[in-house]
Symmetry: C2
Subunit: 325 residues, 2 copies
C-alpha cells in the first residue's frame, strides 16, 4: 500500500512530461501551460488509490488518472473564462495569457484528449469506465450551470438542498468517480464500487463545507488568503444560506443591511461573523461536516476488503478534513 | 442500397427526438436548440453510407451518426463564439440567443455526450471507432486554430499548401472519418477503410474549392447569398491566395488597391473578379477541383466491393460537386 504522497510523486513523474503534440503550438502550448501550473493532483491519485484498495496498481490506473487530471484542467480553463477570472494558482489564466478563442479551443482539445487516454484502457473495463467518467463529466457541467444560475439569484431564492446538490455535482462527483474508476481497474465488485463512490462524494461535500468555514472563521495567517473573502462579495456559501434560514426577523434585518455594504467595506466581515455565531451556523456547519464525514466513513467501512488496505484513504480523508488551511 | 435522401430521412427520424435531458433546462435547451436548427446531416449519413457500402446497416451506424452530428454541432456552437457570428442557418447563434458562458458550457456537454453514443457501440469495434473519431476531432480543433492564426496574417504570408492543409483539417477530415467509422461497422478491411477515408477527404477539399468558386462566380439568384461576399472582406480563399501567387507585379498593385477598399464598396467585386479572370485563377480552381475529384474517385474505384454498392456515394459526390448553389 502507498500513501497519497508516494502516489502523487509516481503520478507526477509520468504526467509531468508534455501531454500534447508540439504543433500547432498556438493550440497546444496553452493546453500544456495550464497543466504546468501544477495542483495537488488529488483526483488522479484517488483513481490510483481506488485501484490499490483492491489489487496491485495496474498501468490503466495511470491512464485513468491522466484522463481525469486533463479533464479537471479543461474545466478550469473554461470555468475561468465564464467567471472572468484573471488568476489561477497565482498565474494568469489561459484566456488572460493568450485570448478567449484560444482558451475555448485549447479546452476543447483537452476534453477530446481525455478520451485518448480512456480509449487505451483494456477492453474488459473500457465501457464501464467511460460510462462512469461520462456521467461525472456531464454532472460537472450541470453543476457549473446550476452555479451560474444561482449566481443570478438573491441569496434567499436559493434553497439549501439545491445548493448542496449543486456543490455535489460541481465538485464531489468527480472525486467519487475517480475512486470508482480506480476500483473498476482493481476489480472491485459493483457493491464495493458504490461504496467507494459514496465515500468520495461525501468526503467532497464535507471538504466544501470546511472550505466555507475556513474562509469565514479560519486563521488568515494559516489559510493564506483574506479572511471573509466570501462574506465581502455576499457569496452564497453553506454558512450564508443556512444563516438566512435560521435567523430571527431582527437578525434578518441586520443581515440585509450588512449584505448591502460594498465589497471593500471590511467592517462587514467581523459583524457578519458575529451574526453567524449568533445564529449558530458555525456550530451547525461543523455538525454538517461531521454528518457527511460519518456517511463517508460508513461507506469506507462497508467496503469488503481487509481494513489495512483502507488505511491510506482514511489518512487522506482525515488530513483533508482537519486541515487549518 | 439506399440513396442519401432515404438515409437522411431515416437518420432524422431518430435524431429529431430530444437528445438531451430536460433538466437543467438552462444547460440543455441551448444544446437542443442548435440541433433543432437542422442542416443537411451530411456527416451522419456518410457514416451510414460507409456501413452500407460493405454490409447491411447495423444500428451502430446510427449511434456513430448521432455522435458525429452532435460533435459537428458542438463545433458550430464554439466556432460561432470565436468568430463572433450573430447568425447560424438564419437564426440567432447560441451565444446570441442565450449568453457566452452558457454557449461554452452547452458545447462542452455536447462534446461529452458524443462519447455516450460512441460508448454504446459494440465492443469489437469500439476502440478503433473512438480512435478514428478522436483523431478527426483533434484535427478539427487544429484546423480551427490554424484558421484563426491565418486570420491574423496578411494574405501573402499564407502559403497555399498550408491553406489546403488547414481546410482539410477544418472541414474534410470529419467527412472522411464519418465514412471510415461506417466502414468499420460494416466490416470493411483496413485497406478499404483507407480508401473510403481518402475518398471523403478529397471530396471535402473539392467541395471547399467549389464553395469559393460559387461565392465569387456563382449566380447570386441560385447561390442565395450576396455575390463576392468573400471578396468584400478580403477572405483568404483558394482564389485570392492563388491569384496573389500568379499575378504580375502590375496586377499585384491593382489587387492591393482593391483589397484596401472598404467592405461596403461593392464596386470591389466586379473589378476583383475581372482580375481573377485575368490571372486565370477561375480556370485554375476548376482544374484543382477536378484534380481532387479525380483522386477521390480513384479511391472509390479501389474499394474492393461490387461496383453497384458504390452507386449512392458516386451519385452524392456528383450531386455535391456539380451544384450551382
Amino acid at each position: 500500500m502507498h500513501s497519497f504522497k508516494e502516489l502523487a510523486a509516481q503520478f507526477e513523474q509520468q504526467f509531468g512530461k508534455r501531454q500534447f503534440p508540439e504543433s500547432p503550438s498556438t493550440l497546444y502550448d496553452p493546453a500544456q501551460y495550464i497543466l504546468s501550473l501544477g495542483g495537488k493532483r488529488v483526483r488522479p491519485v484517488l483513481a490510483i488509490m481506488g485501484n490499490e484498495l483492491f489489487d496491485d496498481i495496474h498501468p490503466d490506473a495511470f491512464l485513468a488518472g491522466n484522463a481525469i487530471e486533463v479533464f479537471h484542467n479543461f474545466t478550469l480553463v473554461h470555468d475561468d473564462i465564464m467567471d472572468k477570472a484573471p488568476l489561477r494558482r497565482g498565474m494568469p489564466t489561459v484566456h488572460t495569457k493568450y485570448n478567449e478563442p484560444t482558451a475555448i479551443l485549447a479546452g476543447d482539445v483537452m476534453l477530446i484528449h481525455t478520451y485518448d487516454y480512456l480509449n487505451k484502457i483494456q477492453s474488459k473495463h473500457k465501457q464501464k469506465i467511460i460510462s462512469v467518467f461520462n456521467k461525472a463529466a456531464t454532472e460537472v457541467c450541470e453543476g457549473q450551470q446550476l452555479d451560474m444560475d444561482m449566481e443570478g439569484m438573491q441569496p434567499d431564492q436559493v434553497n439549501y438542498a439545491d445548493y448542496v446538490n449543486m456543490i455535489a455535482l460541481k465538485t464531489s462527483v468527480l472525486l467519487a468517480a475517480s475512486l470508482q474508476m480506480g476500483a473498476i481497474i482493481g476489480g472491485g465488485s459493483e457493491g464495493n464500487q458504490q461504496h467507494i463512490y459514496g465515500f468520495g462524494k461525501n468526503v467532497g461535500i464535507a471538504f466544501q463545507i470546511q472550505d466555507d468555514l475556513l474562509d469565514a472563521f479560519g486563521n488568515p495567517d494559516k489559510v493564506g488568503k483574506q479572511q471573509g473573502g466570501d462574506i465581502l462579495i455576499n457569496k452564497k456559501t453553506f454558512l450564508l444560506l443556512k444563516a438566512l434560514e435560521l435567523c430571527t426577523p431582527a437578525q434578518r434585518t441586520q443581515m440585509d443591511k450588512l449584505m448591502s455594504l460594498p465589497a471593500d467595506d471590511t467592517s462587514k466581515v467581523p459583524q457578519t461573523l458575529e451574526l453567524f455565531r449568533d445564529c449558530k451556523v458555525d456550530q451547525w456547519a461543523e455538525e454538517q461536516k461531521q454528518h457527511f464525514m460519518k456517511i463517508a466513513f460508513a461507506h469506507l467501512e462497508d467496503i469488503a476488503v481487509m481494513s489495512g488496505r483502507k488505511a491510506p484513504l482514511r489518512e487522506l480523508a482525515d488530513y483533508l478534513l482537519t486541515r487549518q488551511h
